[in-house]
Each structure stands twice: as structure tokens, then as C-alpha cells.
Symmetry: C2
């Protein structure tokens, strides 16, 4: 018997609200309180009509709630109400905040983890780039762009062209990362894609090659909103796995059901 509420750490999946799981829907429907991040879609929040909703996200250009405050809110909430949902975009533990789980466990608050569809898995779909493909890419590696000291030691030793590379929040450092790989022996014409604003309604996917990544220009206003995007003038149509072998063919996979995927013959 426990005298505090259960906190569910729930992944909401990507912004598309239909990619939320049944289990997440159930927890949200019964929640008293939902603590949510910046990357959680509005439609997902509507699944918790009875709950008080508290934004605890971090967002560029705005004052964010510090982690200690979030911990305190969660512990307080757990002591008060029986059904608390801590809602994160994607999956709760892919670049999530494990320190929240730590803080809760330290004070004896019981938690459960409900996995979600990660953007690692969902964001590449519109690019026609499969994470793995027989004979082409036998695995994939996932890093985040936060700090060069975190992705460089992982990416530098990789065997060139051996697997698919996924960089979360990688747009700002795309040129650095592309150069790093090419210098290490990755083919410059390796297909590459950028899912821009993958967790928002404004999402689009830009498809290029490793050495073409620097030609994408995106303009932002002071408050962090995208104002315009300038694709390179030469039309890029290549659309293959980021880790191809020269002879392999990529699977063409569409999220919008057109019969002939781009870049099939490239």
C-alpha cells in the first residue's frame, strides 16, 4: 500500500495525434494533473479533459521552468492527487529527462513508464529513408546535437557507410556533422534528409545528400518562429538511406500514399 499517487511518464508520440497509444489515451482520460512539455501537441492535451494542465517545457527564447521546480511540482502533485501524467513528446526516455525519474524514486514516489512512438522512428518516414534495410543498413545510431563533445566521440569511430545515422535536433550542426562523416570516409553522395520541425504542424522534410546538407536555408524571426525556407535552386530529388552501399536499392516508402516514390532510381 502506497500513500502517494502514481506518476505515469507517458510518451505522446510525434505531433500527429493519432500516433498516441491506447494506453496513453487511457491514462490521460483519467488524469487529475498533466505536466506537459513544449513538444506535446494540443490535440493530445485534449485527451485529458478533466485534468489540470501545467506547462513545464523548455522553449528557445523563453524563460523555462527549471528542473528542480519540475521535480518539486511532480512530487507535490503525486502526494496530492492519485493520477498524474508527465507527458512528453515522442518516447519519454529517448532524450527524455531521466533525472525526473531519479528525483521521484529518491523520495519514494512510484512511477510507471509508458513508451511512445519516438521521433527517431517516425520522423524519417516521409523521407523514404528506412532505418534499416537488408544489405544496405543493418542498424542505426542515434545521437543528439546538443554539444559537439557528445556526438563527435560516437560518430567519428563509426565504420563509414555501415549504418543509418539519426541526429536529433541536428539541424543547426548539419554542416559540422556532414563534414565529420565525409572526412571519416562516408560517401559525399550518401542520401540525407532533414525533418524540419518534425514535432509541429509545420513539419516538412528536406531531402539531399550528405554534402548538400549545408544548402538548406531556414530563416527565423526573433521569437523563434520560422519565417521562410529557401531550398537550394538545383532541384534535389535523391531519397535514399543515409547509410547506403553503392549497389543497394532503397525501399520506397510513402506516408502519403503516392504510388511512385521520389528517388527510386537514383
Amino acid at each position: 500500500v502506497i500513500d502517494v499517487g502514481l506518476i505515469s511518464l507517458v510518451g505522446s508520440g510525434p505531433v500527429e495525434p493519432e500516433l498516441v497509444t491506447l494506453k496513453a489515451v487511457r491514462r490521460l482520460a483519467n488524469a487529475n494533473l498533466v505536466l506537459y512539455d513544449a513538444l506535446v501537441g494540443k490535440d493530445v492535451l485534449k485527451l485529458a479533459p478533466q485534468a489540470r494542465r501545467l506547462f513545464v517545457g523548455k522553449r528557445a527564447g523563453r524563460k523555462s521552468v527549471d528542473q528542480e521546480t519540475i521535480h518539486r511540482s511532480m512530487v507535490r502533485a503525486a502526494r496530492r492527487g492519485p493520477r498524474v501524467v508527465r507527458l512528453k513528446g515522442g518516447d519519454p526516455f529517448v532524450l527524455g529527462r531521466g533525472e525526473e525519474a531519479l528525483a521521484l524514486a529518491k523520495v519514494g514516489v512510484p512511477i510507471e513508464v509508458i513508451p511512445g512512438v519516438s521521433s527517431v522512428i517516425a520522423a524519417p518516414v516521409p523521407s523514404d529513408i528506412p532505418l534499416t534495410h537488408r544489405g544496405l543498413s543493418s542498424g542505426f545510431v542515434v545521437v543528439a546535437e546538443h554539444a559537439e563533445e557528445s556526438f563527435r566521440p560516437v560518430l567519428e569511430p563509426l565504420a563509414p557507410n555501415s549504418l543509418t545515422v539519426v541526429v536529433l535536433m541536428g539541424r543547426a550542426r548539419r554542416t559540422t556533422i556532414a563534414s565529420l562523416l565525409v572526412v571519416r570516409g562516408w560517401r559525399a553522395e550518401t542520401p540525407a534528409a532533414i525533418a524540419v520541425a518534425a514535432s509541429t504542424d509545420e513539419t516538412f522534410t528536406w531531402i539531399a545528400t550528405l554534402d548538400g546538407l549545408n544548402t538548406l536555408l531556414i530563416f527565423y524571426s526573433d521569437d523563434g518562429r520560422r519565417t521562410s525556407t529557401r531550398p537550394p535552386t538545383s532541384g534535389l530529388t535523391a531519397s535514399r538511406a543515409l547509410a547506403p552501399s553503392p549497389e543497394g536499392s532503397p525501399p520506397g516508402t510513402r506516408s502519403d500514399a503516392r504510388p511512385s516514390p521520389r528517388g527510386w532510381k537514383s
Copy 2:
């Protein structure tokens, strides 16, 4: 206007039926035909009560449907019925069969891809091992055990102790993989876990260290069913990230809501 049906390549998520997405539920409810794999749970299939259901999975020790036959079935189905679901466990493109997407695209059958919760993401949850954790593991790499020639070139060059390693279907080669890592400089006491039968009701998670992986014994009957499991006699309680730094603390995350996770102080 298209004259053939749409084939939805749908990930059902892990075996826990509540981890299926709303979008998958909707497609299954309206499907005429569901082609499903071995790793799809029975409860998920019940979500398609109107559909004809066709097993096209591969299973150890039994005659499996060959890939050409699956392609032909899918193309035929798409020409006949408007709503076909190709249902796979986990996510459709993590070690999925991209060649099916290729085969369909080649003959002009429109497809859509509906991502699912991958076992890459869900299977580690009960182990208390986070895929990433600040200061401990900045990323993760995913390989499959199929053939040594596929995982060795990926794992060997990795910077030791730099990220979390996920090996899909890795149980049979666990000793090979552990040795490979230790020889390359990974610490022998690196926490490690095996999610046994992660996509079935019989799932359990076995938690050890890198050099203790060989102490798990699992017995199978001739038809591939597990008959018994013998854990090592010395109680292993370590439960930390597979890619820790010596000083880092792991997040303790529970899927069954107990307040004090195993191995916290280890």
C-alpha cells in the same frame, strides 16, 4: 484516382495490446484483409473483426511463407480490396521488410507507413536501463544479431562506454557480443539486460553485467518453445545503463510502479 487499394504498413507495437496507436486501431477496424507476422499479438488482431486474416510470418522451426509469395499476396490483395493492412510487431521499418515496400512500389501499389512503438524503445523499460541519460549515455546504437558480419563492423569501432547498445534478437550471440565489447575496452561490469521473449506474454527481463551475460541459461523444446530458464545462482541485482560512466547515477524507471527500483545504489 487510383485503381488499386491502399496498403497500410502498420506497426502494432510490442505485444502489450495497449501500446498500439489510435491510427493503427482505425486502420485495423476498417480493414478487409490483414496480413500479419509472428510477432503480432492475438489481442491486436481482434481489433480487425471484419477482416480476413492471413498469417505470413516467419517462425523458427516451422515452414515459413517465402517473401515472393508475400509480395504476390499483397499485390493481389491490393488489386481486390480497398483496405489492406500489413501488420508487423513493433515498428514496420525497424528490421522490417523494406523489400515489401519496394515490391509494391515497383508495381505501382500505393502504400502508407504507420509507425509503431518499437521494441528498441519499449523492451528496455523493465530493465531500468534508459536509452539515453544526461552525462551517462548521449545516444544509442541499434544492431541485429542475424549475422556476425553485420554487427561486428558496427560495434567494434564504437568508442567504449560512450553510448547504449541495443541488440535485437541478440540472445543467442550474447557471449560473443559481450566479449567483443570487453575486448574493445568496455568495462566488464557495465550493466546489461536481456529482454527474453520481449514480444510475447512470456516476457521477462534478466539483468546482469556485460561479463555476466553468459550465465543466463534458457532451455527450449524441439518446437522452439521455452521450457525453462535458469538464472545464475548468485543473485544479480545490478541495473544500470549499458553505457555508464563510472560516476554516473542511472535513472530508476519502473514499469510496474514499485517505489524503489532495483540496483539504484549499485
